[in-house]
């Protein structure tokens, strides 16, 4: 989903930076609050952040004959909400733009908006919607992760379409073109990522159920049900 350095006109770089910065500031403030409230949240933050590091470094071939990165942001969005996730994503994207020439400093804002803000916000909305229903928690994790991943790429397509409207059909038709490149490639990856992170969540539930209950990520009953059945 990385937009390469130099591929966005500077006006758009500024627009996306202006959207990203307040979210990051809020994320840092939230992060401090969460950690002050419960030091035991720190290892959980390490695990969810670690998975963003691992998954976003994997360049996986996809069925369209092209390859793409998973994002891994869903797990962190569930546990810590989208704003803290955007801070972790900013760190990962900074690493990639400095050392890997993947993305860049001017387009970092746009990449943070797609991977760190829109994707996790959509994922978090789905989580809140399904949280108190009878939907199995692993299914919730799967849906959140897969859709957070998908919407990251939808946002990238939109960012590029806004900067490069097609001569015929304008923004809408170039949006469809970019969606064809990014989002279609991403569908199978999003599904696999969803399943893998649901599996990871199963291990977190098995090892550290108390932190999930204490942070009110899922209710005690849901966690106990999940432990009983899986």
């Amino acid at each position: 989903m990385h937009i390469m350095e130099g591929f966005l006109p500077w006006q758009w770089c500024i627009v996306w930076w202006l959207i990203a910065l307040p979210c990051l500031a809020f994320g840092v403030w939230r992060l401090k609050k969460v950690i002050d409230a419960d030091r035991e949240a720190l290892p959980l933050l390490g695990v969810t952040g670690g998975f963003i590091f691992i998954l976003s470094s994997l360049k996986l071939p996809s069925v369209t004959g092209s390859c793409s990165h998973p994002t891994g942001t869903g797990l962190s969005a569930i546990c810590f909400g989208p704003w803290i996730t955007s801070v972790i994503c900013a760190i990962v994207l900074l690493f990639q733009s400095l050392f890997l020439a993947h993305g860049g400093l001017s387009v970092l804002g746009a990449n943070i908006v797609s991977m760190g803000i829109v994707g996790p916000v959509i994922g978090y909305a789905i989580y809140r919607l399904l949280k108190d229903t009878s939907v199995n928690i692993y299914l919730t994790v799967f849906l959140v992760t897969a859709l957070a991943d998908m919407f990251t790429y939808v946002t990238t397509s939109l960012e590029l379409a806004l900067a490069y409207p097609a001569e015929v059909g304008g923004v809408a038709s170039s949006f469809i073109l970019f969606m064809g490149i990014f989002a279609v490639t991403q569908v199978p990856l999003a599904i696999v990522e969803g399943i893998v992170l649901a599996l990871v969540f199963k291990y977190i539930v098995a090892l550290k159920p108390d932190i999930l209950i204490r942070m009110k990520i899922f209710s005690e009953k849901q966690i106990n049900d999940a432990r009983g059945e899986a």
Partner: protein, 107 residues
């Protein structure tokens, strides 16, 4: 028993299907490249704006990995960094759980 490992089995099957479909499509589709959607996207931008890909220069000067191998190495390093955290924390939790169950049995 099978029910206990449902997610593990599902993940294994999903990855196998994914690899199978990928191998099939990449062997039947000619001209398919192992380039990445980022690169294909860059080509599309060039097409839409009527400029060549090379005419896009970084707005902010950027360090480029000197070769593909070094880039791959740095990518692996990034994954390793994440792996250290995940493995470390899971190990910490397992240890914590063990010492907790030991203290309860000793009492």
């Amino acid at each position: 028993m099978a029910k206990n490992y449902f997610l593990e089995i599902l993940a294994g099957v999903a990855i196998l299907v994914f690899c199978g479909v990928f191998l099939y499509t990449s062997s039947t589709m000619t001209g398919a490249e192992f380039a990445g959607s980022d690169n294909v996207g860059s080509g599309m931008i060039a097409e839409l704006s009527g400029k060549s890909v090379d005419s896009f220069t970084p707005l902010i000067p950027q360090w480029q990995p000197p070769s593909g191998e070094i880039e791959a190495c740095l990518f692996a390093l990034q994954a390793a960094l994440g792996g250290i955290f995940v493995g470390g924390v899971f190990g910490y939790w397992i240890g914590q759980k063990k010492s907790m169950s030991e203290t309860t049995t000793n009492q």
